[in-house]
Subunit: 137 residues, 2 copies
DNA sequence: ATTAATTCTATAAAATTAGTAGGGTTTAAA
DNA sequence: TTTAAACCCTACTAATTTTATAGAATTAAT
């Protein structure tokens, strides 16, 4: 399941993607349009900025805008940024690999093999969903 | 990600699947073989029993055994029993459907459509992984 | 200077997770 | 019929994560 943070991030990105290219959106504007608590959204937008998905303009008349193309922001990206690994266990993860503390011999683990299969399929599916594909409905 | 409970459940089921058909496994035996805290495993086995995946024999020389065929226990089943919905949001779930409180009009939600696609693909993949397929390596 | 916006850090309440504790109940063997 | 060995059940707890909120600092345009 997605955290609220990830869900709100996606909704915010969808909002930005639907504005004109040159438009700069204020946090409060996004928050109201997408029913997201404003102060919470502030943090989320900063995370998206640190992840180089959005850019910002500070000061009066400032706000946020898409930095990457809608076609280059995938569900997998946002999941990883806010909710971490796509895989079902850290030992089956590419980007968030961690050994299981209760694992005796990883290469012999019956579970890991199956979970790597799942990760591959889920990842492919999540990479197929982009902000652009969602906006196009 | 899977919870420890779901992971332990899968490891316990894998252990049971590798025993002879007639063998009854004690909790302590599974716990030691699979490095699972015994008292925690007790709860998990009870949940598996309530889910009709395993059967039990009480009293002295009692224990647990597989109730369903290894081919009929899927990763999707165990995920749902311990970790709930397969879908990334409750509004995109079949078995754990819930409306989003921040959603104005669900039929118009751009996110939901994509998440239903993901759920369908993930579910198919997870239903393809059975205890039998994991044991066969 | 003033105003309006982002940025940053700290805090807090609520929920979830990962167990632990301590019995109660059932069964079978001695 | 007593006893031991196992499952069964409920409650509790400590730690972590999640979901925010608060308030001040910084930045930029007028």
């Amino acid at each position: 399941m997605l955290s609220h943070k990830a869900k709100y991030a996606l909704k915010a990105l969808l909002y930005l993607a639907q504005q004109e290219e040159t438009h700069i959106s204020r946090t409060i504007e996004i928050a109201e349009a997408a029913s997201i608590p404003k102060k919470f959204l502030e943090q989320i937008l900063l995370d998206l900025k640190r992840g180089h998905f959005v850019g910002s303009k500070q000061g009066k008349f400032g706000g946020y805008y898409l930095l990457k193309s809608k076609n280059d922001i995938t569900l997998a990206d946002i999941h990883r940024l806010f909710d971490g690994a796509i895989a079902l266990l850290p030992c089956a993860s590419l980007n968030f690999y961690e050994r299981c503390s209760d694992c005796v011999d990883e290469s012999e683990c019956l579970l890991r093999h199956g979970l790597i299969t799942i990760r591959e399929e889920t990842l492919k599916a999540m990479q197929g969903i982009t902000i652009a594909s969602l906006v196009k409905k």
